[in-house]
Symmetry: C2
Subunit: 452 residues, 2 copies
């Protein structure tokens, strides 16, 4: 029961790997017996699915249940696949309704149906409540397992109720209080209940709480909810009646998996479902190749633009020297704006209706950035390549920066408005767009200055 | 006490803004009186510092304290600045020790010293404990305000202790249990204490808990801690003795502010301390211009590379048509690898010592991506520009993809190893690097194929 160091998992991993290689199941069981649950969970999530299943099978049954509960649905599904639905029935039973719903999404329908049939009636009912809401909504991520606590109950009565029901409840820390029509009156914190005298009424302990609706977007709600440092928030249906509770750890899971997806998409690839080192090479290639192809095909636009101006390029080959500098700077300016606005959208600092405000800000920021870079570019190009090239480079930088900042700032909002992921329209697409447009601007300016 | 909708803050904002414009302080007070605390907090954090201070001053004193507590240190400092240290003394007193330490970091030393002098002795002591640890460590973010709970205490005794001390304690939900030498034996969850009979000993309720050390990196610890869905974790000093507790909401704050910083840096700018729409234009320009200049100067490397090959370009101007396509594809491939590895590092899926594994994976992934793109590029260029150009484009794509994926995958790990922020070395720098190196490869291949 001694305290453990937090990064022991790397040590554990190395040892388990060694024993796996020498097929020494006994030693692995021994290691797993002594290890912290959290370390076993990261061990399984960091390794390949096959190895994860081997490790899971070597766990003593009581630990296996706790580990199964803590795994993400993708890994849970892999365990069901490896152990068969008979082997995991009891673990499935012990999951919360919302976790069961998420696992069902990952399972083949016939396996899910078999597992569901084995549940007792109330568990089936709870699970069906959650499954009844659309994916990606709060209803799908909430827990319907809540106690019925009314304003006129005393602390003593609530304690007795909780003692009787605690095994079925999602959380005891945040207790929604309702009136007889199930309208939420606020919440009682366990802390206050714990400190209260036996005869204190809930109406004296209740505090205001925001509520969320089953139909709210789960990701938006999670991002709004986490910074509030609340443990849970009551969930109401479309008639404003209490139906469940949404907890900080659900919010946490949602934000983490969305962040992984966003980060992958900003880099122009699909998110991985397994840890990087455990992912087969071919899966890595697949997660990237489609985006690369799409981007390369869009980039072939730049070949066409340059093809149009090939005649001018032949007369002044010096113009081609600046192509990567100009497209690069445009891309960078666009990305700066896009990343800032994407983040502001995620944090709720910017709203869809703010698009004109954002564009007007970015036009001016782009002009200022372009003025500085353009002036320096003008000086440098003048010194090395003469005044005409200086003027061309300076003016192009000014125009490209202004355009890129504006487009970069507007893109994530446009994406969100049409229902696409703002992260998708960020970095790679903006770069490609700025490349092509920037080149057109460049050659138009060059043509008029040089009189080609 | 009725439930409120979650996005009411936009409505509130509009109304407050209208009344601010008409200088109708009375109406604003009225609005603030009826609003949810959480909405008032986001209202202040989303608006300009000046307006935020006006709103804060219009709050009734008891609400002002709660709002002050929930603001981030940057905004707290702004309120101190606006109200003077006399006006906020009592709010300062009510903060937790770790929040007080964070606010002190943002204040001018003489203001901080004055506020500190007004605290009572035990608060001064707690604050000094936290201030004694280096910035960015767990010690700086933990709360030293914990109860002394021993293994042989009964539930009754612990309840009495908590009733007496609860106002000074950071959390009641996770209670570290120690032996007489202050070594952590595990934790008792309030839930279990609440359900336990009066004479149950802590040794029966205690469960294993990981611990963290005061000297651990706060960001790493927060990222490791959040996915565990724990409410708090005991903090020990270098002798392994209990000194404080690290809670999920501290972890939450740390990860959010680090994510904002990382996301800004991946886009090539500095993070903003105020919400996007509340940030003055000149601050936006400043947060971006340095990076743009550094990147533009590095990008001038591409001008030099092309200058070296200008003679060849003159002989075959067609080569210049593919420059943006090739550099773009290289940049995209590098960014995919870099984003994936940066995220894997943040999640703990990849460790610094994995660098060779990562590079070997990326060489092969890059080769596969390059083979596909190169083959398609070869076909397309062959059809439109002839077999020689086809061979050049195909071979260049193959080489550039392999190099970019390898460099992109290695960069974040190298950055982390030398103590830099992995996000900094991501997208923009990799693009620039891949641009210059890719061009050299391109012209070397072109020269040998065309015999220039």
């Amino acid at each position: 029961m001694a305290a453990v160091e937090q990064f022991d998992v790397y040590e554990l991993e190395k040892q388990v790997e060694n024993y796996l290689r020498s097929h020494n199941a006994e030693k692995i069981s021994e290691l797993l017996d002594g290890a912290q649950l959290n370390d076993i969970i990261s061990l399984i999530e960091r390794t390949s699915l096959k190895r994860g299943a081997v490790i899971f099978r070597l766990l003593p049954p009581e630990r296996a249940g706790l580990v199964f509960d803590a795994l993400d649905p993708y890994h849970q599904a892999a365990m069901v696949h490896a152990l068969g639905s008979d082997g995991v029935g009891s673990f499935f039973e012990d999951l919360g309704a919302e976790d069961r719903a998420m696992l069902i999404d990952e399972l083949p329908p016939e396996v899910a149906a078999r597992l569901m049939r084995e549940l007792d009636e109330s568990d089936q009912e709870y699970t069906n409540v959650v499954l009844g809401y659309e994916r990606g909504t709060v209803g799908r991520a909430m827990s319907p397992e809540i106690a019925e606590i009314y304003m006129d109950m005393t602390a003593r009565e609530v304690c007795d109720l909780l003692r009787a029901q605690h095994e079925d409840l999602e959380t005891l820390y945040t207790l929604p209080v309702i009136d007889r029509a199930r309208y939420v009156q606020g919440i009682v914190k366990m802390r206050d209940l714990f400190l209260a005298a036996d005869d204190v009424k809930m109406s004296e302990l209740v505090v205001d709480s925001p509520t969320v609706s089953v139909n709210d977007d789960a990701e938006e709600t999670a991002r709004w909810f986490l910074p509030l440092s609340l443990l849970a928030v009551p969930v109401v249906d479309s008639n404003d009646k209490l139906v469940g509770i949404f907890t900080f750890d659900e919010a946490q899971d949602i934000v983490e998996s969305e962040d992984t997806e966003d980060s992958a998409r900003q880099g122009g690839s699909e998110a991985l479902k397994t840890p990087y080192l455990a992912t087969p090479l071919i899966t890595l290639v697949k997660s990237r190749i489609v985006w690369l192809l799409v981007l390369a095909v869009s980039a072939s636009l730049t070949v066409q633009v340059l093809d149009v101006f090939e005649g001018k390029l032949e007369k002044a080959v010096v113009l081609s020297l600046f192509i990567p500098l100009l497209t690069g700077t445009g891309g960078n300016t666009g990305n700066q704006a896009a990343t800032t606005v994407t983040r502001a959208l995620a944090l709720g600092d910017v709203h869809k209706s703010d698009i004109l405000k954002v564009m007007w800000r970015e036009v001016r920021v782009g002009l200022m950035l372009g003025a500085v870079l353009g002036f320096l570019g003008f000086l440098a190009a003048w010194v090395f390549f003469g005044i005409e090239i200086g003027i061309i480079i300076g003016t192009t930088l000014l125009s490209v920066c202004t355009m890129s900042a504006t487009v970069g700032g507007a893109m994530p909002i446009v994406a969100k408005t049409v229902g696409a992921d703002p992260a998708v329209f960020s970095n790679p697409f903006i770069s490609t767009f700025c490349d092509a447009t920037g080149l057109v601007i460049y050659f138009l300016i060059a043509t008029s200055v040089l009189g080609l």
